[in-house]
Amino acid sequence: MSLTAWSRRARTPEPVPVRREIAVFEPADLFDIEIKDNPETNPVLCCTGDPAGAAAFNALWLKRIATSGRYAAAVSVRGQGGTPAAAGGPEARAHDVVQAAVTVPRQTVLIGHREGAAWAALAAGRYPAAGLVLVSPLRVPKQLPKPVGEPPVLLVVSESETQSKEVQAVSDEYGITPLTFAGAPDDVFKGATAEGLLDTVLSWLDAQKP
């Protein structure tokens, strides 16, 4: 974040605060398996454009991420799931993501799906995320901020999207090549699609730290 971007933001009214719904799954919550929260790994915070919000990740994602030894959380931004609706566009939703990120015990990886990818990318311009994962980004603003603290960035898209202009623009913006997963971009929360996608994301995350 540049100093100019910060001083501009400090002079615009803050979005109306809302009581955000945050779903958390810690490795300690997995009674059936011996997995400990590994303090060497960074927690993960997910958000999605799906109206279900954090609840969408309850089916499989959070448990699966926790199984890899990571603290897993998901946030419903304003108007999603259990979070009341309030005024504000993508910036206000990015604010919700940042506010959720600072409540996570350690520096967190941001994972955004669909519109959530746009909010996560905006949030990464204000908060030094440990990593930024964009899954099938949708309605991404033309001007994306440079991520604070230069985190590694991953772009994962479904096979059908690889040629889309949106994906091209995002991969050019960060100078990275997208990875692909089999399945529909809107249906990533359970079943084989989710398994494949999570495998890709988690193995990439594990590869980031020596």
Binding site: S2, L3, R11, V102, P105, V148, G149
Partner: protein
Amino acid sequence: MQEYSSQAAYDRGEAVCVIGAGASGLIAVKNLRENGFEVDCYERDTVLGGLWNPQNQHSPLYPNTHLVTSRSQTEIPDFPMPDDWPDYPSAAQMLEYLTAYAKHFGLSEHIWYGSEISHLEPVEGSRFEVVVKPAAGAAARRLRYGAVIIATGHHWSPNLPSYPGLDDFRGTVLHSSQLKDPSRLRGKHVLVIGGGNSGVDIACEAAVNAASCVHSVRRGSWHLPKYLGGEPADYALARLASRPKYLRRFLTDRILKGPKRLAERMGIEAPGPGPAGEEPVRNGRYLEHVGDGSIKRRGEVARFDGYEVAFADGTEIRPDLVVLATGYQPKIACVAPELLGGTRDEPAPRLFARMFSPKAQTLAVAGLVEPGVGVLPIVHWQTHAISRWLQVRKSDPERAESFKLQVNAESHHDAVEHVDPRRRLVVDAEEYLASLGRIIDTLEQEPAK
């Protein structure tokens, strides 16, 4: 003790030494880590949070200390405070916030508590040797670092005025930092000396708790309420600063008209041309307490005499308790004043761009400014610039050269020294941030083709 420590200094390579684990120190550690530096942070106390931690034995907190700048203007730019916190968080919340910051970025593992830096000196060109004196037991250790950032703050050394007869005064005299327990005010006749933020805050505490409260101030000051036009005052004024100049003056005068008339009604003269000229006192309750008579304002104290205190205007009172809210003296003890651009006779630091030592490339001071706005964001950008500079210095000689020119140019207008030592650390936030922005741009932007 010396004979127990090994004579050879332990070499920490390119690691950076940060002195102090208060707000400024923590931000410095985080930004250095983010830029890939190894960091050792030394804290003389056994807790983090510096002045915000009441467990710190030197803590300057007084009863009911709150931020005088609002949350959005005070939070660290990349780690916002929870948005359901009040506009003006308390000292306890501030400590909670700094603790969360340290935990979130894993800073604690880089902090050595109970370790005071007793001395530091340049060695081998640009490197530094520091002497670490543990609080108890073990002998002093010597270590070498690639760079040193001093983040010790300037609220530790109480500024104690001298008045004739003060030593023989029969009542109790406390500095504001010694007034930890508000019940000490209860039922007493209290005299508060000092018209700064702490004096005004303590006078308000005394107004509701003490039997009577007299407030002695030497000069007029700007009184800003904590809210202006339905918004936190510093936020409202900062928003005006982004307007065009001709409008800014007009709008600022308009928004300040009410508070100004109220202060005049209470017999307070505002000094100088505007709030930019003098650090304003930020307290919304004070003038109302003056208005309802629970705070009586007086001029300067002339002398203490047994149980009595006489003022310059000839009147006398008999206080039980005198609180000296006379502020602090900036003091950096661990380093020779010459290294920070001072002299033996005039030890006040003269730094490049208010942070870089004019004598050593790898010595910097974080947070030694009084910008009249939240200091944490300023320290964030200062330490961001320092970290980038330490990187660029090694890897990019060309950019390092243009940085030096830039910093010299930025420091030029500081050459006109404030004569008043009280105002030596004062900077205009607007100008200083712009200057920091230009320095960071020089360090980061791609060179023009």
